[in-house]
Chain length 287, copies 2
């Protein structure tokens, strides 16, 4: 397991962590001030400053990307399917322009939440089928751009509205079904927040192996959690034994960034540089 205690060269900042404090260009400037050398930007943040300008700012700052957030939301009714497909193809094109190593997939839940305007449904089994087909279709396009896709299993609390892939086992089953050859183009993004509770986690991380683990995200689970989406904790403030999980992915050979992604009504109110300094300190001590 790598020693993070003396520097933060393996810290990547998911830019949603400070999305309320500034735009992507301001976040990139703050990363330069704090010697953070990698980010994972969100599509809406890129769009709001313009793709070309974002790509240039990343390049000029010498930043690495640890991923691009996000593709997916594959579940829709028939009327919205072509738009969803095209939207995901644009995500691939953007990721390529930005130099991202992979696209993180949040696969979608029921159609009325995943692609608003779709007819309402309670059929989660149908949603699972749509996710399978949507990933397979997107992967064809992503292969042609040589852009890997990382399925992110989301906490089961988001099954209805964000992602109906909720365990590492389920995500890996999809990888095996869609990419049985383990081509390196389909894998998982593992966020401790979503998966820490899973009694099968260690076995599934071993099953994933190095060639299926594309990203590792950290934050913490607070008790109590006051908001199901936006009350994630700074590493060390909650109950997750983050080092144990990082040790497990690194035991498989994962040697990439430890990406900090915190959606928090609390941390979004604090000055950007204070948040980043805290991230760095916790990265060195508890990640």
């Amino acid at each position: 397991m790598r020693d993070f205690s003396s520097d933060h060269r393996w810290l990547s900042l998911n830019t949603a962590t400070v999305r309320k404090q500034g735009d992507l260009l301001q976040i990139i400037d703050a990363c330069a001030r704090q010697n953070i050398r990698a980010i994972d930007p969100w599509r809406d943040q890129v769009a709001s400053v313009g793709l070309d300008r974002a790509a240039r700012a990343v390049r000029e700052a010498g930043l690495d990307l640890s991923g691009y957030c996000r593709g997916g939301m594959f579940v829709s009714d028939a009327a919205h399917r072509a738009a969803a497909r095209d939207d995901n193809r644009r995500a691939v094109d953007e990721a390529k322009a930005l130099g991202a190593p992979c696209i993180v997939l949040v696969v979608g839940g029921l159609p009325q939440y995943s692609r608003p305007g779709s007819s309402a449904s309670k059929d989660i089994a149908e949603a699972w089928g749509r996710v399978h087909d949507g990933i397979a279709e997107m992967l064809d396009y992503a292969r042609s751009a040589n852009m890997p896709l990382a399925i992110e299993p989301l906490h089961p609390a988001y099954a209805a509205d964000r992602a109906c892939v909720n365990t590492t086992r389920q995500a890996l089953d999809l990888c095996d079904a869609i990419d049985p050859a383990r081509s390196g183009m389909l894998g998982v993004a593992l966020d401790v927040y979503h998966i820490w509770w899973d009694f099968e986690l260690m076995a599934q991380i071993a099953r994933a192996g190095k060639d299926r683990i594309f990203a590792f995200h950290v934050c913490d689970w607070l008790v109590p959690t006051r908001d199901i989406l936006n009350d994630r904790g700074m590493m060390g403030d909650g109950v997750i034994d983050i080092k144990r999980l990082r040790a497990a992915v690194e035991a498989q050979g994962f040697a990439g960034y430890s990406e900090i992604e915190i959606f928090s009504n609390d941390w979004w109110t604090r000055p950007m540089d204070e948040v980043l300094r805290t991230c760095i300190e916790r990265h060195r001590t508890v990640v």
Copy 2:
């Protein structure tokens, strides 16, 4: 699959559903008014009117029980272990006095939440071990009283503070480990709220079979969920396809009550008989 549309003879009321509107005796009276013939009472509600009085009221009302809530909270530090064991033995004695068919087990999460006063820990693997050992120990006592124990897998959102058994697979693995002979003394209580999202659910219900399914609980998952514990929905108001899940347990031979358990800051504010009438109507239409 049984037809619930013309009566509510298979409706049981988990008494937490109206816990804010009255004590256990008042709830039993309301059940009589609404021709509800079964309940699942909570230990604190029994204690507050007294065990003897509660048992007499149940008997005099001719009520069935569909379970007794709850045993468990097995995870503690060493200093609190004997107290936890004794507490669970008292739960068995009370269940016996009340004529309950089983005790529902909420197994506990990390020790500081499960048994307050215990030393804090982030070691969920240790908690899983404690749960195994605690159930095994409690089962010895429960066998002597002929009182079956039903492990309730809780939604992963409760892994830290309420139960670190979070999938039907995990609960059944415990059953297999502790009671490999399938003696009928250890099984599961399946609540749609906790398990509806699980891609393995149908396979695990089939694995459980009739002799491991001791209870079936219903409510609904609301989008958005505004409170992680107390914003459960009335059946039909959320996204769960309840009939599909009831069909699955009944296909295994389950023929017991469909128990309504709703923790809801909303429904707790409404008059008790209004809540019960709504439960009955939804039981006949969407359960």
